[in-house]
């Protein structure tokens, strides 16, 4: 196990390094932020001074090396726009995004898993067919459209739920969170649902496919021949087996939910990292963009690693084969 983790960490470092190169070069290619940051009336001398202060006068490779050097010290540069460390800016916004993403994943599991199980166990029934038809919608509707529709129905027409912001937050271990207050929950609901929709559809499909496959296996046949109740056959024998791939996918999806949050956060004016990214792109705030992308990549890598570990913990065949044979 340890060997495996070390190998994965080394691989991750390599990925991070390549990513930083790509991101750096990519952002450089997008354009220079000077024109946006400096008022058009500034003199040439002012301009040169600002460029020098931001370090933009150096050649790209040198800028990159300096960046890497600082990055090792935990410094990903200062935001041009806010003039505070980019990393601090992102970390301030991160809890909001993480909360939204977790809430969305929770919704996806709580809704998707039972529906998927049902659809798998009774594939020919009318509810199962409707579930499957619904899941196709979940896949094909674009997030922004769903978000707008939800706002229209629940916020504008019915007026039941707020359409933007985070609502009142409660500090949990010093971090502001929304889900502990009714108002906060009301604010979470629409963006959470928007973000969850695709994953609900995904989990329904996965669970259904897994259940149907499991129903045909010999071990389910044998479990039935033992006289076990349906509850035990489905709840233990089937679920324990199909949960392995589902957990894997859920965890991997968590990464993309964080990335997809960009759109949802923008629509619902949710003050998370995604919104920060859009704002930063608008002013070409290079350090924030670079820092954001690197942090998201790092999170992806971390989640992947955790998934692999979780996978091996869930599946005894993986867990024990690594430790046992020698």
């Amino acid at each position: 196990m340890l060997v495996f983790v070390i190998r994965r960490l080394l691989q991750s470092l390599l990925v991070l390094f390549v990513m930083s190169l790509l991101v750096f070069a990519g952002v450089y290619a997008v354009g220079t932020p000077i024109d946006i940051l400096i008022s058009p009336e500034a003199t040439q001398a002012d301009r040169i001074a600002v460029v020098a202060a931001l370090g933009l006068d150096k050649p790209l490779w040198l800028q990159y090396l300096l960046f890497v050097q600082h990055a090792f010290g935990g410094d990903l540069g200062k935001s041009f726009a806010y003039n505070i460390p980019a990393i601090q800016l992102i970390f301030e916004r991160m809890p909001a995004t993480l909360e939204l993403a977790s809430f969305a994943m929770l919704l996806a599991v709580v809704i998707g898993l039972p529906l998927g199980l049902y659809a798998g166990l009774k594939p020919k029934s009318l509810p199962a067919r409707s579930i499957m038809a619904g899941s196709i919608l979940g896949f094909s509707l674009p997030t922004f459209w769903v978000g707008l529709m939800l706002i229209m129905v629940f916020a504008v027409w019915l007026g039941w739920l707020p359409s933007n912001g985070r609502g009142s937050t409660v500090a949990l271990l010093g971090v502001p969170v929304s889900f502990l207050s009714i108002d906060g929950l009301r604010h979470l609901l629409l963006p959470g649902l928007t973000l969850a929709l695709l994953n609900i559809a995904l989990i329904i499909r996965l669970t259904r496919a897994g259940t149907q496959e499991a129903l045909l296996t010999d071990y389910v046949k044998f479990a039935r021949a033992k006289g076990l109740t349906d509850a035990r056959v489905v709840g233990v024998h089937i679920l324990k087996n199909i949960l392995i791939p589902i957990v894997t996918v859920i965890a991997l999806q968590f990464g993309s939910v964080i990335a997809f949050a960009v759109v949802t956060e923008t629509i619902f004016a949710w003050p998370g990292m995604g919104k920060l990214l859009i704002d930063s792109i608008n002013v070409l705030d290079r350090p924030v963009i670079v820092a954001y992308l690197l942090i998201v990549v790092a999170m992806f890598i971390l989640i992947n690693l955790l998934v692999d570990i979780a996978y091996s913990l869930l599946d005894p065949r993986v867990r024990l084969s690594d430790a046992g044979t020698n």
């Binding site: 033992k226 006289g227 024990l320």
Partner: protein, 679 residues
């Protein structure tokens, strides 16, 4: 003995796209306490369907139309499903064919037994755990405490089957249904599992319904036997009478199609045609289309039960007392038939075609941070053998012994680690490009699973012609076309078959196609890897007959890789026995099969269940069995010295020192065991 289970007039139906199928049409049988009742039949006969119907575990579109299943006099077919669950596991236990897939992979062995005890309210909590551990011990699992917390994948195949038996019996059912309980196991393991079932049954006085395709297993285990064909029982009787008098023409054919030493040189009986489709009603005998003795009455009227005594009966008009004259007439005609001369003279010695010396195939095991090679799986570790022109060498061994890898290595389908392979006098290892291709055209391969090896999107004609073009055989498309027609004829398929796709054929026919494809290149050697193990015995007989005919007419040699001793006895000229990557004994079929010298060969041959009890070899003693019960070691880490010493009844300290040298018992008979002295 009292009747525990009684099945009466059971009719099962399956809804399918092409209408309602009748897999069971009026099954009647009774099971007495302490009795083993076997149902035998080929695939599609309805034997497994009978078991599933009794358990009411039919797959989704299946349903029971009418009939009764009386357990202790009460019909369980009328129970509501929730009450039926109290019957399953508690009063009727069931085990299945595949221990590897029937146990839940993510639950420990202990959990899988405990849940039965708790479900049927036999024990709870720690007491249930204790009871489960006891059961593991009772089914012969060493170190049961530890095994309780292990997962199925950590156990060998035989161990898994023992766990499955423990699960099925934990709630002490009166009836055990065993559906092909040993089909997935090696013979030496099979012998142990059959013994275990026998002794548990005796000890507990339970009734056992054994379902199998293997007549020899039945002969060993059953008190009474029923033979099924096309959804009904066609013959039923006490074991000895059942095998002594075939009564029914289908039974006669089936017995005669089993390969074995006694039939060497004669063609095996084969049954023409196919099992009829099971849609709807039959007006006459279901076997009529395939029966050599069918006459007009057979097609008009379904035969009733007749037989020499009330216990031993068959459904055939010929047994009707009124038809006595007809039977007598038929028997006279049979007697007049001149038996085909046994023709088993091996061809005159034409010299070695294939000469393999010290062949090695090692697969690296990688581990650790840098994926360092930390060991080798020595799948094939110094195999030497030779095959002469026009002869058949059988390479025999149990699963994991490396026989399949050895076959592939000869054709260089896996990377070879070392050794030499001379074919027709020329070294073939290391050949590349055009030369490799030329060599391959002379050595062909036929696989076990004909379906997996035939491209489903190509027509049969294309499949056969494909190889020819790439090997440069046949002057032009027309010539190749003619050749395809000729080949199809040779393997007994209609010429029109060339326009069909593989899925339109039965398993046996697909194997014929695979053989035709192999023959297309005019090979001198065909490596056959378990070519008949996926087939029913009557179909297997056809394929074996075909292979023998081809050898006679074309003079090809066969390397026959198999675990089926009956097949080896029937057609091999020479035999090599493999254990954990090495050949432990080799010689002519006569020498190895009749006078085996290596303890492993002896055990292997003695473990094979046989129809006739008078085998030339003494049966396994319980002491030998105990030794054999040890797990087969992994080829990644074979025991030092003689690899067999962990399971060998004769092992002494010296066996662990070094791998035994080859001892020549005769010019052809070679054995690797330190206990064997040259004669």
């Amino acid at each position: 003995m009292t009747d525990v289970l009684e099945v009466r007039n059971l009719h099962t139906r399956i809804d399918s796209a092409s209408g309602v199928v009748h897999p069971l049409d009026g099954i009647d049988l009774t099971l007495k306490a302490g009795e083993t009742f076997a149902i035998v039949g080929e695939s599609g006969s309805g034997k497994s369907m009978t078991a599933l119907s009794i358990m009411r575990l039919l797959p989704e579109p299946g349903w029971i139309e009418r009939g009764e299943v009386n357990l202790d006099g009460h019909n369980i077919l009328t129970l509501p499903e929730y009450r039926m669950r109290d019957v399953r596991g508690a009063r009727i236990g069931m085990i299945f064919q595949e221990p590897a897939t029937s146990l839940n992979p993510v639950l420990t062995c202990g959990e899988q037994i405990v849940e039965v005890l708790e479900r049927h309210k036999i024990e709870e909590g720690p007491a249930a755990r204790r009871r489960a551990t006891e059961w593991l011990k009772r089914v012969g699992i060493p170190d049961p405490e530890r095994r309780m917390d292990e997962y199925p994948f950590q156990l060998s195949g035989g161990m898994k089957q023992r766990v499955m038996i423990a699960v099925a019996l934990a709630a002490e059912p009166q009836v055990l249904i065993a559906d092909e309980p040993t089909t997935a196991l090696d013979v030496t393991i099979q012998a142990q599992i059959l013994d275990l079932l026998k002794s548990l049954q005796k000890e507990r006085g339970m009734a056992m319904l054994l379902i199998t395709h293997d007549l020899a297993v039945v002969a060993q285990m059953a008190h009474r036997v029923a033979l099924m064909y096309a959804g009904e029982i066609v013959k039923i009787g006490p074991r000895d009478a059942f095998f002594a008098q075939p009564l029914h023409p289908y039974a006669l054919k089936l017995f005669a199609s089993l390969p074995g030493a006694g039939k060497r040189g004669e063609p095996l009986a084969s049954i023409k045609g196919f099992v009829p489709p099971l849609h709807g009603q039959f007006t006459g005998c279901r076997f009529a289309d395939r029966c050599d003795y069918a006459y007009d009455r057979c097609r008009k009227q379904a035969p009733a039960w007749h037989g020499p005594d009330p216990q031993h009966q068959a459904r055939c008009h010929l047994l009707d007392p009124r038809e006595e004259w007809r039977l007598a007439e038929l028997l006279r005609r049979e007697d007049d038939k001149v038996p085909e001369a046994a023709d088993f003279a091996a061809p005159a010695d034409a010299g070695d075609l294939l000469e393999v010396r010290d062949l090695k195939v090692h697969f690296p095991i990688r581990k650790g941070l840098l994926k360092k090679v930390v060991g080798q799986v020595k799948a094939v570790d110094g195999v030497s053998l030779s095959i002469r022109q026009g002869r058949t060498l059988a390479l025999v061994g149990e699963s994991g012994c490396g026989k399949t890898t050895a076959g592939k290595a000869l054709l260089q389908l896996v990377p070879v680690t070392g050794g030499t392979v001379r074919f027709g006098g020329n070294e073939v290892l290391g050949l590349k490009g055009a030369e490799l291709k030329r060599m391959r055209s002379r050595m062909q391969l036929v696989f076990q699973d004909p379906f997996g090896s035939l491209n489903p999107r190509m027509r049969v004609g294309e499949i056969i012609a494909e190889g020819m073009a790439s090997f440069g055989i046949g002057a032009n498309a027309q010539a190749r076309n003619d050749r395809v027609a000729e080949l199809l004829g040779q393997v007994g398929l209609a010429v029109e078959s060339r326009y069909k796709y593989p899925h339109e054929f039965s398993g046996g026919q697909r194997q014929r196609i695979a053989i035709a494809r192999a023959l297309a290149a005019n090979p001198q050697l065909i490596v056959c890897d378990e070519p008949t193990s996926a087939l029913d015995v009557s179909v297997q007989a056809q394929i074996l007959n075909l292979l023998k005919d081809l050898q006679k007419t074309l003079g090809v040699s066969f390397l026959f890789i198999t675990h089926n001793i009956g097949v080896v006895e029937y057609l091999a000229h020479d035999v090599a026995v493999m254990y954990l990557g090495r050949i432990v004994e080799s010689g002519t079929a006569e020498e190895v099969l009749n006078r085996p010298r290596h303890p492993y060969t002896q055990a292997l041959l003695a473990a094979v269940p046989r129809l006739n009890t008078e085998s030339k070899l003494p049966p396994l003693t319980s002491e030998v069995k105990e030794h054999l019960a040890a797990d087969i070691p992994s080829p990644a880490n074979p025991p030092a010295g003689c690899h067999f010493h962990t399971r060998c009844p004769l092992a002494v300290e010296a066996c662990k020192a070094a791998y035994p040298a080859e001892v020549a018992v005769s010019a052809t008979h070679k054995v690797r065991c330190i206990m064997v002295q040259p004669e």
